[in-house]
């Protein structure tokens, strides 16, 4: 697996660490307990396209949102966390 870092170009996956899915959205502090349980523990766990956090620790140290197919490991794109927040 090679990840195309927007800063560093295509780099091997062992330069990165991942903390997994980028899908869950942090609820408001005042939200229901159910929303919090969902956010912390429940996962869509798709077989297919998945957005996930990768940290380029062995490179520019930027946080990226990588889109990847969990069935084939094909990387479909990578954006910086900041870019990924834009619609």
């Amino acid at each position: 697996m090679r990840i195309p870092c927007p800063h560093c170009g295509e780099r091997p996956v062992d330069e990165f660490t991942t903390i997994g899915t980028a899908d869950p959205v942090r609820p408001e502090a005042s939200s229901d307990m159910k929303d919090w349980v969902d956010y912390v523990y429940i996962r869509n766990n798709p077989a297919g396209t998945h957005r996930e956090w990768f940290h380029h620790v062995g490179g520019c140290r930027a946080w990226l949102v990588v889109t990847r197919d969990t069935r084939t490991h094909a990387i479909l794109g990578a954006r910086t966390a900041e870019e990924a927040r834009k619609p």
Binding site: V13, G20, V40, Y41, I42, N44, T70, T72
Partner: protein, 418 residues
């Protein structure tokens, strides 16, 4: 046919021409209502079928498997069994599993090569020794065997390790003498044959594609061979648990990750126990064919591909070299991956679901092989009686909402670290 030394001799004298298939090759009956349909013909699905039939007398059962029996994790694991757990929700369950392993071959009349060669967890620092002493004590309080060894005792057992490694010196180990290995394929075949002999339909090459629910109650499953009606449906799909649960509208506290394993070329008997490296995550044993069987960590990213990537291969080899430098002289002949149902606290789920008649068995992470007998035992009880057995009472689906997590490692909701 009952397997025995006599059946072996009789068939040998008939030039082995009269052996019968070990179980009937069935398609699910679509003109019929099953009492229970089990989704997934891995170790857990098949053991559930066996104990449903044997312990609860429920034989109107189909096991529906999309591939062939043994194609999932039950045929991909590194075959280690043990019950060296720390937490009350886990220890009695895994110890019961080990007890079932001890009587399994007589129970199912199948040679599964259960070998209690011991499981030795090495420690490399004072802090780790203390943690292992605590675990060993917790085990003994639950009636589980455990022995804390110092470096000299470990050296007498396994002299070929790198004891004086500058970074990871071996200071001792926690030994569970009753742990060991079991021939994994034989477990799947043996349970399939035992369940079949009591009338369970084992249906291979049939994928479940939907779960039909009406007014909150399960009616059956859609499959590639038609709609199969059932009073109860039990999910035991391991790495694909989220996908089958989604067919019933459920979202699970599960992520699917890939774990790899490796086998070396065959050598003379060397490793006569199971050894785990405590300064990383590496475990090794030797199969009866002579190959060294070993593995390490997850690759770390979500995956449904039954293969991993090279950085992890390199990492596992480095750990092996750190423990046992002579490994460098051997060639690795095979490697493969399996997709694991990693739960959010590292412990499994055996429970009812919010859908009436739908039962769930998942979250085995990479320790579900050793659990195969007890998992089937408890799941069968949960399905038959519609309530958990005492041994799986803590393995609830709603524990994440109520805060009753069973987190052996204390790693929090980080499935790739459990």
């Amino acid at each position: 046919m009952k397997y025995s030394v006599f059946s072996l001799l009789r068939n040998a004298f008939q030039a082995n021409r009269n052996w019968k298939p070990a179980w009937r090759d069935m398609s699910p009956r679509t003109d019929h209502v099953y009492d229970v349909v089990i989704v997934g013909g891995g170790g857990h699905g098949l053991s559930t079928a066996h104990y449903l039939a044997k312990v609860h007398g429920i034989t109107n059962v189909a096991v529906i498997e999309k591939g062939y029996v043994g194609s999932g994790n039950v045929g991909r694991n590194t075959t280690i069994i043990r019950s060296n757990y720390l937490l009350p929700g886990n220890t009695p369950f895994y110890e019961w599993s080990l007890k079932l392993w001890e009587g399994l071959e007589q129970d199912i009349n199948f040679n599964a090569m259960v070998s209690q060669r011991g499981v030795l967890n090495l420690y490399h620092s004072d802090a780790q020794r203390d943690a292992y002493a605590r675990r060993g004590n917790a085990m003994r309080m639950n009636g589980v065997d455990s022995v804390l060894l110092d470096a000299a005792q470990v050296r007498a057992m396994v002299p070929y390790l790198d004891f004086d490694n500058a970074r990871f010196p071996i200071r001792g180990g926690l030994l569970q003498p009753r742990g060991g290995t079991v021939r994994h394929d034989a477990v799947a075949w043996g349970y399939a044959r035992a369940a079949d002999s009591r009338g369970v339909d084992i249906c291979q090459h049939c994928e479940v594609t939907g779960i039909r629910i009406e007014a909150g109650r399960v009616l059956g499953v859609e499959t590639t061979k038609g709609f199969v009606r059932a009073r109860k449906v039990a999910l035991a799909a391991a790495g694909n648990s989220s996908r089958v649960a989604a067919m019933a509208g459920l979202r699970l506290p599960i992520e699917t990750h890939v774990l790899q394993a490796f086998v070396s070329e065959a050598i003379k008997p060397l490793v006569d126990t199971v050894i785990t490296f405590g300064a990383g995550h590496f475990y090794i044993s030797q199969s009866d064919k002579g190959g060294l069987v070993f593995g390490g960590d997850l690759d770390g990213y979500n995956s449904y591909a039954q293969r991993g990537s090279l950085p992890l291969v390199e990492h596992v080899m480095e750990e092996g070299m750190g423990l046992m430098p002579m490994l460098g002289r051997l060639r690795v002949v095979r490697s493969w991956g399996g997709v694991m149902d990693m739960s959010m606290d590292g412990s499994p789920i055996i429970d009812k679901t919010p859908v009436e008649g739908l039962y769930l068995n998942c979250g085995w992470c990479y320790g579900g092989f050793k659990a195969t007998p007890a998992s089937g035992w408890c799941f069968a009880h949960t399905i038959a009686r519609d309530e958990a057995h005492a041994l799986n009472a803590a393995m609830r689906l709603d524990r994440f909402a109520t805060g009753h997590l069973i987190d052996e490692k204390g790693a929090g909701p980080t499935p790739n670290l459990h």
